[in-house]
C-alpha cells in the first residue's frame, strides 16, 4: 500500500496545478450555468484518486489518470442528463455529446491540450468581467481556478467562510443569468479585457505581498498563484501582450526580495536595511528578462514603469547607490498615465532621498486634502519619517501613532512602534 502522506502530497500538488484547468474544461462542457456540476466532477475525480491510489499505488502519470477519470465522469453525467433540461444541448458545441456515435470523440476533443489552456484562460477572462466586483473576481479565481478551499480563500481575505460562500454564489448567479461564454477575447478587445485580468492578478499578488497576513504560508501561496496565472497568460500566443510581460517582471522583482523583508523575529525590515545578499538573483534575472521582452508595441503601462522602478532597486548594489534620479523619472511618467495620489505619495519618498525633508514637505502638500490620505497609514508614516528627519520628534511620534491606528498589519504596527522607540530613546 502506498503511504498516505505520499499520496496526499502528490494529490495536493496536482490539485493546485490541474483542478482549475479541469474545472474550466468541464464548465465548457456543461455550460456556465452548471459550474457546481463541473466542480463536483473534479472533486469526485480527486476522491477516486485517493481511494484507488491507496490500494494500487500512484500511477505512472497521475495527471493523465486524473484527467481521464474526470472525462469518464463527465461522460456518465452527459448520459444521465441527456433528456433533462439541466444542460443546454441545443448549443452547437454540445449537440454532438447527445449521440453515442459522437459522444466519446467529442468529449476527447474537449480535453485536448491546446483546448485546455484556452478554456482555462477563457475562464479567467470570464470571471474578470467588469460587472463582477474585483474582490468577487479574485475570490472566484482562487476557489475555482487555483484550487483553494473556501477556508483558504477566507484566510487570504481575512474574512469569514460565510462571506466567501456568498461572494462565490453571487458570481455563479451572474454566470447563470447571463449565460457567459468563457473564451479568450477577440484581438480587438484583448487589450482592454486583459487589463482587468492583470489588475485581478496584481491585486492577488499584493494581498500576499503586503504584510497584512501573519500567516506566511497563505502569503506565499497567493504570490505563487499570481505568478502562475500571469505565466499562463504568457504561455498562450494570443495573450502575450507587453503589459503581461511587464507585470510578470514586476512581480518577480518583488518576489525576489520577499525573504529579506521580514526578519527571523518576524519583523518588517525597511529597504534601506535589507540584506541584499538575501535577494534572489535568479528571480531578478528572470524578471529582467521579462522586462526586456515587455518592450514591444506602443503601450507603456503602469506595470512597465513600476517594474522599471523595482528593477532599479533590485540592481542597486546598496541603498546609497540607488539611482534615485532615474526612479524619479519613472514616477513622473507614472503620474502622467495615472494621477494617483498613492503614486504621488510613493514618489515623495524618492524626493526625500534626493532633495531632503524640507523639499518633500512642500510637495506632499499637494495631496494633503485628498480624502484617501486622512485614513491611509502610509501617508502618516511618511509624514512621521519627514518630521523625524526635520528633528521634530514630537510631531514625528504623533504621526507614527496615527499610522499605527490606521493599519491592520501587525508587522507594520511593530515597525512603526520601533521607530517611535528609536525617537524616544
Amino acid at each position: 500500500m502506498e503511504s498516505r502522506d505520499h499520496i496526499d502530497t502528490t494529490l495536493n500538488h496536482l490539485f493546485r496545478q490541474e483542478s482549475g484547468k479541469m474545472v474550466a474544461v468541464l464548465i465548457k462542457i456543461f455550460g456556465t450555468e452548471n459550474i457546481e456540476m463541473a466542480e463536483d466532477v473534479v472533486q469526485d475525480a480527486l476522491v477516486s484518486a485517493l481511494e484507488t491510489w491507496k490500494f494500487r499505488g500512484i500511477p505512472d502519470n497521475p495527471k493523465a489518470w486524473l484527467y481521464r477519470t474526470a472525462r469518464n465522469k463527465a461522460i456518465d453525467i452527459i448520459r444521465r442528463k441527456k433528456h433533462s433540461k439541466t444542460i443546454d444541448f441545443s448549443d452547437p458545441e454540445r449537440k454532438l455529446l447527445t449521440s453515442e456515435y459522437t459522444l466519446a470523440s467529442t468529449m476527447d476533443n474537449f480535453w485536448k491540450e491546446q483546448h485546455i489552456q484556452d478554456d482555462f484562460l477563457g475562464m479567467m477572462y470570464a470571471c474578470c468581467h467588469p460587472d463582477i466586483s474585483s474582490e468577487n473576481q479574485i475570490t472566484f479565481i482562487l476557489k475555482s481556478l487555483c484550487g483553494f478551499s473556501t477556508k483558504e480563500v477566507a484566510r487570504s481575505f481575512l474574512t469569514s467562510e460565510d462571506t466567501i460562500s456568498k461572494r462565490l454564489y453571487r458570481t455563479k448567479e451572474y454566470f447563470r443569468k447571463h449565460k457567459i461564454r468563457p473564451r479568450i477575447p477577440f484581438p480587438e478587445d484583448i487589450n482592454t479585457k486583459t487589463k482587468v485580468v492583470l489588475s485581478a492578478i496584481y491585486l492577488m499578488f499584493n494581498e500576499g505581498y503586503n504584510a497584512t497576513h501573519d500567516d506566511q504560508l497563505i502569503r506565499k501561496d497567493l504570490l505563487s498563484q499570481a505568478l502562475w496565472l500571469c505565466k499562463s497568460l504568457l504561455d498562450n500566443e494570443r495573450t502575450q501582450l507587453p503589459e503581461v510581460y511587464a507585470l510578470m517582471a514586476l512581480m518577480l522583482f518583488h518576489t525576489a526580495r520577499i525573504d529579506s523583508r521580514i526578519s527571523d523575529q518576524g519583523e518588517l525590515i525597511l529597504l534601506s536595511d535589507q540584506d541584499r545578499n538575501l535577494w534572489n538573483k535568479e528571480l531578478i534575472a528572470k524578471g529582467s528578462n521579462y522586462l526586456n521582452q515587455s518592450a514591444f508595441g506602443e503601450s507603456l503601462s503602469t506595470y512597465h514603469l513600476e517594474a522599471a522602478i523595482a528593477y532599479q532597486h533590485c540592481t542597486a548594489s546598496s541603498y546609497a547607490t540607488t539611482n534615485w534620479k532615474e526612479i524619479l523619472n519613472y514616477y513622473d511618467l507614472l503620474l502622467t498615465i495615472d494621477n494617483d495620489p498613492i503614486v504621488f505619495l510613493n514618489r515623495s519618498l524618492v524626493i526625500l532621498e534626493l532633495n531632503g525633508p524640507e523639499e518633500v514637505l512642500k510637495t506632499i502638500q499637494k495631496i494633503k486634502n485628498h480624502k484617501i490620505m486622512s485614513t491611509y497609514y502610509l501617508y502618516h508614516a511618511i509624514l512621521g519619517e519627514i518630521h523625524e528627519r526635520l528633528m521634530l520628534p514630537n510631531k514625528a511620534v504623533e504621526y507614527y501613532q496615527q499610522a499605527i491606528e490606521l493599519t491592520q498589519s501587525k508587522l507594520e504596527q511593530s515597525l512603526l512602534r520601533k521607530k517611535i522607540g528609536r525617537i524616544l530613546n
Binding site: 452547437p92 449521440s99 453515442e100 470523440s105
Partner: protein, 115 residues
Amino acid sequence: MKQFMFLFKGGDDVWDAKSEEEQGAHMEKWMQWIGQMAEQEKYVGGERLYPAVKTIHPGGKKVTDRSFAEAKELVGGYITVMAETLEEATEMAKGCPGLQWESSVEVREVWPDEA
C-alpha cells in the same frame, strides 16, 4: 427542408473483430462525418443500439431472439438529418464510415414531411 433517417444495418461482426484502438479511430471518422453535417445545421440527433434483439411477431404471441441469418439486416442505430430531397440525403449518407466496415445505410424520409 425535410427530415430523413439513416438506418445503419449490419457490420457488427466487423466491429467485434477490431481492436479498441481501431474502434476508437473508426468512431473519430463518425465524429467527423456527423460533425460536418452538424456544422451545416443538417444534423438532428441519433442513437446507437446494442445488438441484443427480441422480436415480437404479428399477433403478439410469438417472441424470438435474433437469428444468425438476420445479422446483415440488424439495425445498429440511426441518425436523423435535414435535407431537401431523398437524393440529397442519399448523397449525404454515402459519407457514412460504417460503409467501410460492412454496414449498409438505409435512407428514409421521416413521416410526415413538415411543409
